[in-house]
Structure formats: structure tokens, C-alpha cells
Symmetry: C2
Subunit: 602 residues, 2 copies
């Protein structure tokens, strides 16, 4: 029922993401395991496994999921050598599982009487979902079966409790749905797919209802099939939608697919930041009103950016529409890439688009009490390769441009590029079937002009439905070079985005830029800067690990006489000033201070 | 130590506030008592009094304070006839008090083991403060001593527990400080003043520290004397500051007074909405960063507006500076007046400056689960007279202009005015001492030109330090007529108030205007409106109980082709449109819909 299929081989081998992946593998993932030990997550599992005695550590019922997400990242990253890196964790989890398949250290150790009694906030199915995802990752990347056996026993238990013959319950935090579909894909057991469907269709009928949070927080205010907009807690909504789209892919349920496309359109048109980040409210970590997108109070939880990518990917598979690749690109390079420091050591939970001059800045942190984001970043970085390409009967599609090797369907290709800093992408055919097939290259939404050359011969083709398509008989060694024109763009927002009226943002290719205080002339406060025009781009190998910077000219606003009342006084433009913008994803990696993506133009 | 003294007599007898006061007396206060019964507040006190048995109702530890605040309002409003209206409540509270003076139904009934053990959120001293305020109101307005005896027993108990020989504790929610000073003023017992001082000086040393909320939420992050800005939960901060200013007034502690003036300047210059509302964040109900004042997510809790008025009033008494009267006026007519419906039946907890076209609107509510605001509105309306005038050795000062009778110091005057709709204020001397004295009339901050006539003779005087001052020997029957020029102002914000860049607000006199959807031509969405120019003001006796409306001309923005991505597309001005603005305080009294104070001008 899906339009596109994931590649059988997808490996990023150089460039932008390769460096981030290396930091993840060599710094982030090893440090993560130490953090899980320090924070007590592993201690809690040892209690559940009966290896030690003592008190449950921490206060959240979803702490196992940090372990599971770390394990998923490690499984993707290390493949068959996971056993070396984390075999003891697999054993620990196996031992912690109860004979009936139940697995959740919080309820086993701390609240045994409340098992499945606090579904609104207990996160038991959510944690199970992440365990299943880890097991599927392990099985796919190493063929390992131990964790998959734990996952199946757990899924079987959930099916007994919540399945067709069980009780009518749903989890307050979605995640189990997409995990069950993945487990179905891995095992072929249709009961898992059925359970996912049942859980989705139960939602929106008040099984949770208004509790500490309103029903919309849990997406329980309206059935999935009729809801027109994303709502409530952003991560919950987007994990749910990933699962719903998975079900549409596997079952061909067109109503679900249409519901998902409709919600996605609403989200992108009215509730998405320029960085791809979503979730405007700190309060309830929720989506705001349409066009309510304040830059300084953007919540933009890292997990929401990740969930958005995961959902868009599934919609891309379902429909083959380029717009999903566009949003994935934007979110990857901006809202997501900014959530982890360049050295892989520190993380943002919240990703604002503005930090005022006087805002207390703390910067990225090595870990959090509520540690959902760091291991989520790890698992996305370990799988970012997967989002680059797909295949179908007609050929092979490239959606994201990263140096690497991609194989599936009729062919394997080798990609070389300095994207996102340069727009040239070279695609060399490594292996090919004898029959003609189509190479489809996503034409980025931001790009107005592209040229394409096949084996040195220019082709005159226009993008169709967002893809440049070359159909021919191929020979190994054929080379397609596409050049996407990269210009600095001065972007304004729809007038209904009140919070950035009278401002512009600088973009170049997929990269959103920002001003950081540290790059501006001494004494210039970002609160007073006015943008005139971008003047020059420059590749700077020694800045922030190598980025293209954008220089600009502007003014510093004069303060004039200030009456002590901030209304009724219009300040004047003062001195000219030279400004320097750096990629948003790289902010906060040097001296901490003010930052802004949207710069006043008046 | 105070510069100014409250009047011995201050009675509003007609006009704007008279109508609001009547609704409060005839509708709000009687309905409030029924709500306290329905919500269980009185039932809880009956449990504490041992009259009934059963379970504590509600979940908040501060529910007694709703009763106390209601009682304070009723005491001010009904004076000696409080006995008729609420004598049974006074008896109930008296009976609920424990032999040692302790009084708090939540801890007496629901959590007896935790008495004073949860100071961060237990609100026991906060509730005590409101009981004391009610008792002082009763004593002052009727001479009643029964409630005052309860208050003294309670204060004595607090002094034993937390006084010089007691434990080092402070309440997470200030209020007790100002109440203790009032009790000292009423009784002359210096121990109460001393205890207030001790509690203030204990603050900011981490006695509460970081808990569920950060220490700043409770103003426990920095000592009162050194804190430069308001911070944390707005109501807590402002109640604290009212108490601190009271202490400065009574003790002449200049350091405290300067600290308060400094914090006030910071608040007004950087964290106050055009309506006088404060508290930008829904999250933690807290102040935001400087200039972070989003209109649609303005929290602007009603109680914070009330607390701001109470604090500014004390600073006015301390310093005699007109700017405090200016902020009181702005907050009274806008942020505060809008919190209650014109009929006195319904209340806002949160007071935003913008409601988008697609925002789900609920409007004002008759009561809340957390019901701090409604009885707070009642007690402010029952005391709004108090804020109009003061006296000192030199004479009599008028700070707010309302038809009524004001007496104190050397004279009594009778004021007649149609303020805020007209700028003419007539002040007739009713009684006077034989010695010359000065009549001081606050020149509102918004007013650029005023004329003044004494007994028909124009005077040529300029405002000095924000007051027009007339010094002479007076005779009963002398009449001073001042005319403050009322013009419509198109107000822009300091450029650092990013959230309203490119917008203007309409103001006239002390009144902030807004557009409501219901007043605009059919089909015009407020999200698309652009303001050109105000065209006409008109007194409309039949609109919203009688208001001056402001007509304006503008455009409706064209949507054009919308790509589904809200960035990169600049929309054009479309059709001309006639707009109608009404006072902000009156919004939400008709058909509910979109509203905005700040209107785009580009």
C-alpha cells in the first residue's frame, strides 16, 4: 500500500551528517550509557530484575524508555557488535521482564499495585513501544533475536490485556502504535498490527478524557479519523501520527492516510517554526493556536522535531510526495541539528528562535532529569541515513543529499556532495539492473533553479511534482550531476505570524541562519539590531567546525530618551553596523549570549 | 515616614466606578457567597469547626482564603450591616479556629500531620493574611471586634511559631507581610510589624529554595533588599512588595523603599502590558524576560493586576510620586476593569490582549476551581474609593478622578466628573480649614495639555512633578475645574517589545481600546486587519452600558496564493475597511470572538 520503500542499503559516508554521526557514536552514545547509570535508570532495572534491593530512583514512570531508546541507537550504530557494547543491558532487560511478559521497572518496583491503573500518565505502553523499537533495530541491524523475544513476550502481554478480548484502554502517551507496526513488519505477526489499529481507533472517545491535563493533551478529544488539526502535547501527537501513518501504509486504510495528510498540512501551514520546530507552548508542551509562533518562547521540544521527522518519513513512504522530504530536510538541518552540540556532548530540550540580551542563558546540558531528548537524538542520528533515499518499481529516489551509498530496487548509487554548503550533488551508478529505471532527485522547496548533467551532457528537464526525474537505461559508472542554485534568501513570515511582524530571517539552501551576540561588533546588543541587506557569504573552515557564514549590513537602533514606560516612544535608526550570521543549528557552541533568527527590518 | 496619608473619608458617589461598585454589591458579592457554599469552602470550615463530619472538598490548601477575601469585600461594602449579611460566617470562622489560634481548614481537616510542614505550597500564612485583612476591614468599616480577635489570636500564634524565638520559616506565597502591618496599624501591637519585618528579611536566603518550582517562583532566590527586578510568580512577588512597602512606610527603612522603587521601575519599563497587566507566562504564572510581552499569550492574571494596584498605592503613600497614580489609573481602567463582566456576574482569570480568529473562546466564568480572582475583584471594587485621594500637611491630593466625596487633612471636597469619557473634573470645597492649603491634581501621564479654572478665573500653571497644584486660602463653595485634554492616541511600543512590532494601539485618556470581531463589517477577520488612522470618537450610551467608541479606517489584507508554508510570502493590502474600537475593559461582553489591542499598521 506504500508508494515508496525504504532502501535495503543506506549508508552516509562523509560530509555534514557523517561528522554528527561520528560524534554520536564516539561521544554521545558512550556518555549516554554512563548517564543512565548515574541517573539510576539501570539501577531501577536491576531492582526489577531482582539483582539488588533498594528504592526506585527518580520520579518518572517512563525512565525505562531512556534505556530502550539508548539501546535502539546503539543497535543501529553498532549492529552485530551491540553484544560487545551493551550485551549486559539486553540481559538485564530480559531478566527484569516478568513471567507474564510485563516490563516496567517503575510499576514493578515502586507501584506494583497500580499496574495499568494509571494509563493517562503511567507510560507503560509508551515504554513498551520503545523496547520494541530497540528490539526491531537489533534484529534488523544484527539479526539478534534475544531482545526481539523480550519484545514479543511484552507485545503478547499487551495484546492479552488491551487486545480484542481485553479491556478498553489506551496509553496517555502514544508510541506503542508505531512500534507494534514495526514489530509486525519484523515478525509478520498480524496480531501486532491489529492491536495497533485497535489502539488508534479507541483514541478520541474519552477513555482518558480531561484529567490533570485536558483530553486534547493526550489526543483523546477527537477520533484520529476526524481530527482536522494537530493538538495538545506535540510529541504525543506526532508519535501517534507516525503510528497511524504506519497503519495506513500496512493496511491501505485511505481514510487514515487522508486524515494524516490533512493534519500535516495544517501543522505545516500554521504551527511550524521556520526551523521545522513545533510546539509553541511551554505550558503543557503543546501546539499553540494557528500562527501563534513566538520565537523567544518557542518550546520546540527536541523530541517533537524528531517525531515530526519520523511522521513525515512515513507520509513520504505512503504518498511519495516531495513536500514530506522538504520538511524532513528543514527539520533535520535546523530544529533537530541544533539540539545537540557540535562535539556531541550536550543537548537542548527546548529550542527557541530568540534569546534576548538579558535572558539568563544556560546552554545545552549533558543530561536531564526528564531525559527523553538525549537518547532520542542518539537514535535519530544513528538512523539519519535511512531518510536519504527510497525505491519503487520505477526506480530510485533521493530525498536527502548526503555523501554515501544507497541501494535498493533496481540499483545502487554512490552520492558525493558538499551539501548543504554547496548545491552540487554527484550521483554515480554503482550497480544497476539492465532494464531502464528512473532516478528521481527531490528539488528542494527552497530552490528556484537547478541544472542537471548526465555523463557530461546537460539535460533540459523541469521538476515534476517536486522531483527532477531522469529515466534511461543505466550502466555502472554513469554519473548524474545536479546543481541546486544556492542563494541567500531574506524570508518574511505570513502576516498572521504576529510574533515576527516587521522581521526577516536569513536562509541559504536548507540552512536557517541566526545572529549570535558573539559574532557582532563589541557593544552591539541584538535587541537593538535592524537588518538592511545580506552582503556576502563565505565558507569558513575554522568557524564552528566549518560553516558558510552570511555577512549583512544593518543599523543599531538609537535608544533616545527613555521615559520608563515602553509605549508611545518610537526609536530611530542609528549607526550603520556590520552583522554576521551563522547557521542556527550551530548556535550556543561558543560564548553564550543573545541569539535571534528573526531580525527586525524596521 | 509616609509622605501621604489615606483619606479619612473617601466615597465614590457616581460615574464609572459607581456602576461597577453597584454591580459588585448587588450581584457579585451575593453570588460569591453562594459559590463559596457550592464549591465547598464553607463546608470545609464547618468540618474544621466540628459542626459536621465528612471529607475535605477541593484540592487546594488555600481555599479558606476565598472566604476571607469575600469577607473582606463584604466588610468594606456593608460596614456595620456586615453582621446581617455575614454574621454567620464570622461565627463559623471563630468556631473553626483552634485553641492555640491556628486556623486553616485544609490542614485541620485533611492533613493535620502536616501543619506548617509544607510551607512552600501550604499557603497557611497566606490564608492567615487574608483573614487578617478581612478582620481589619471589618474593624475599620464597622468597628466590629469579633473577627479582629480571631485575627490577633492567629497572628499571635504565627508569632510564636515563626517569630524571633520561633523557627526560620517563610510562606511560599506572600500576603501575610502586608496583613501583619495592617494589623499593627489597627491594633498598635508592634510585634506584628516586627514579625512582618522578620519574614521579609528571611526571604531570598533559600529557606524554600528550588522545589517543584525554582526559588525565584517564591521570590526566595535573592534578598528583597538587593533584588533588582521583579521575578517569578507575579502575584506572589507583588503581594510581597506591598508588604515590604508597608514596612518601609511604618519603619522609615529607606533601603527597603529604594529597593521597591527600583523594582517598580524595572517592572513598568520592561514587563508591563499596555493595559497595566503583568505576568507574561502561563508557565509558572510568572514574569517573563524584559520586553517579552506577547499579547495572545499574556497571562496577566487578574490577581496580579490587583496586587500591582495595591503595591503602587503603597509606593504612592511612601513617596508622593505621581507615576504610581498613573499606573494605578491605567491598571484600574484596563487590566483590572476588564476582569469582570459589566453585569458583575462573570470573571476572567487570565486577561490576554489578543484573541485570534480561530481561538476557542470561553469568555468570563462565574467561578473557578482555583477561585482566587473573583473575591479579589470584589475586595478591590469595594475599596476602589480608597485610591482616589490622599492628604498631607500641605493639603489634599487627588490621584484618581471619580465623582464623590473625599475628606482628610485640612479639607473635604466634592468631585464631579464624567471621567474617563470626558476630561473635565470639577472639585468643590465642602469644608476647609482657615489656613491656606494646596490642592494637588495629578496630571495624567497620557495628558499633554490641561487647563484649570478657579471660581471662574483661569489659572496659568504648569504641572510640577506630575501634579497641578493650587495653593491658596479656601472657602467652602470654592470650585476648581480642571480640563484634561482627551485625544485619541495611536500608540506604538518600544522596538524591544518584539511581539507587537509593526502594530499600534488606540488609546484615549486612560482607556486602552481594542477591536472586537462583533463590531467589524461582516466577513472581516481580525487576523487580516491593518490600521490606517483613527477617524472619529463618539459617546454611545447604548453600547456596552455607555462607552466612547473610536472609529478607524484601515485595510483588510489580501491572502493571495497560499503555498501551505507560512514563510516567504508577503501579502498585500486589499480593500479599505471601516473599523470600530471599543474600550478593552468591555471586551467579551457580547458575542464572543476575536479581539485585539495591538493592530498591525503595515
Amino acid at each position: 500500500r506504500a508508494t515508496l520503500r525504504p532502501m535495503t542499503e543506506a549508508r552516509i559516508l562523509g560530509g555534514f551528517w557523517s561528522r554528527r554521526k561520528r560524534a554520536n557514536r564516539e561521544v554521545g552514545i558512550p556518555a549516554g550509557l554512563r548517564q543512565l547509570e548515574q541517573a539510576g535508570n539501570l539501577a531501577n532495572l536491576r531492582l526489577a530484575a531482582g539483582r539488588t534491593t533498594g528504592a526506585y530512583r527518580g520520579k518518572y514512570p517512563f525512565q525505562d524508555s531512556d534505556v530502550h531508546k539508548w539501546l535502539e541507537a546503539a543497535a543501529w550504530e553498532f549492529g552485530p557488535s551491540l553484544e560487545t557494547h551493551a550485551g549486559h543491558l539486553v540481559q538485564l532487560i530480559t531478566q527484569a521482564q516478568q513471567p507474564d511478559g510485563y516490563l516496567n521497572s517503575y510499576y514493578q518496583v515502586f507501584k506494583p499495585q497500580a499496574r495499568f491503573a494509571e494509563l493517562d500518565f503511567g507510560h507503560e505502553l509508551y515504554c513498551a513501544g520503545h523496547l520494541i523499537q530497540a528490539a526491531v533495530a537489533d534484529a534488523r541491524s544484527s539479526g539478534g533475536m534475544a531482545l526481539l523475544a523480550v519484545a514479543c513476550r511484552l507485545a503478547d502481554h499487551l495484546d492479552t490485556v488491551f487486545g480484542p478480548d481485553g479491556r478498553e484502554g489506551i496509553d496517555g502517551h502514544s508510541e506503542i502504535e508505531t512500534a507494534l507496526v514495526e514489530l509486525y513488519r519484523q515478525t509478520g505477526t498480524t496480531r501486532y498490527l491489529d492491536l495497533a489499529r485497535i489502539l488508534v481507533d479507541r483514541r478520541g472517545h474519552g477513555l482518558i478524557g480531561d484529567r490533570s491535563f485536558p483530553a486534547s493533551y493526550y489526543q483523546d478529544h477527537e477520533p484520529v479519523r476526524t481530527a482536522k488539526t494537530v493538538a495538545g502535547h506535540a510529541v504525543r501527537q506526532l508519535y501517534l501520527n507516525a503510528g497511524v501513518t504506519d497503519i495506513a501504509i500496512e493496511t491501505g486504510d485511505g481514510e487514515l492516510g487522508q486524515a494524516m495528510e490533512r493534519q500535516w498540512e495544517d501543522m505545516v501551514a500554521t504551527r511550524t517554526y521556520l526551523t521545522g520546530g513545533v510546539g509553541a507552548h511551554h505550558d503543557d508542551e503543546s501546539f499553540g493556536d494557528p500562527y501563534e509562533l513566538p520565537p523567544e518562547r518557542a518550546y520546540c521540544e527536541t523530541c517533537a522535531a524528531i517525531a515530526s521527522i519520523q511522521w513525515s518519513w512515513r507520509l513520504l513512504l505512503l504518498t511519495g510526495r516531495s513536500r514530506y522530504g522538504d520538511l524532513i530536510e528543514r527539520t533535520l538541518y535546523n530544529g533537530f541539528a541544533g539540539s545537540v552540540s557540535l562535539d556531541g556532548k550536550r543537548y537542548f530540550y527546548v529550542n527557541p528562535l530568540q534569546v534576548r540580551d538579558d535572558h539568563p542563558v544556560t546552554g545545552r546540558q549533558p543530561w536531564f532529569k526528564c531525559a527523553c531528548c538525549p537518547p532520542n537524538i542518539m537514535r535519530l542520528l544513528s538512523t539519519v541515513d535511512h531518510y536519504a533515499a527510497t525505491s519503487d518499481q520505477s526506480g530510485l529516489q533521493l530525498h536527502q543529499y548526503a555523501t554515501g551509498s544507497y541501494g535498493g530496487g533496481p540499483a545502487q548509487v554512490r552520492v558525493r556532495t558538499r551539501y548543504p554548503w554547496e548545491g552540487t550533488v554527484s550521483v554515480e551508478v554503482s550497480h544497476t539492473s539492465d532494464d531502464p529505471w528512473t532516478l528521481s532527485l527531490r528539488m528542494p522547496h527552497w530552490c528556484r533553479r537547478a541544472s542537471i548533467v548526465v555523463n557530461g551532457v546537460p539535460l533540459d528537464i523541469e521538476p515534476v511534482d517536486g522531483y527532477l526525474r531522469v529515466t534511461r537505461g543505466w550502466t555502472a559508472g554513469d554519473v548524474v550531476v545536479v546543481d541546486f542554485q544556492l542563494l541567500v534568501r531574506t524570508t518574511v513570515a505570513d502576516s498572521r505570524v504576529d510574533a515576527v511582524r516587521g522581521c526577516a530571517a536569513l536562509e541559504r539552501g536548507p540552512i536557517v541562519y541566526c545572529l549570535e551576540a558573539v559574532d557582532q561588533p563589541p557593544g552591539v546588543r541584538l535587541d537593538d539590531v535592524v537588518l538592511d541587506v545580506a552582503t556576502k557569504t563565505q565558507w569558513q573552515p575554522d568557524v564552528l567546525g566549518g560553516v558558510v557564514t552570511v555577512a549583512a549590513a544593518g543599523w543599531v537602533r538609537e535608544r533616545g530618551d527613555f521615559s520608563g514606560w515602553p509605549y508611545g516612544v518610537r526609536s530611530q535608526l542609528g549607526e550603520r553596523v556590520s552583522l554576521l550570521a551563522v547557521p542556527y543549528f550551530a548556535w550556543g557552541n561558543r560564548e553564550l549570549g543573545a541569539m535571534r533568527v528573526w531580525i527586525p527590518v524596521t
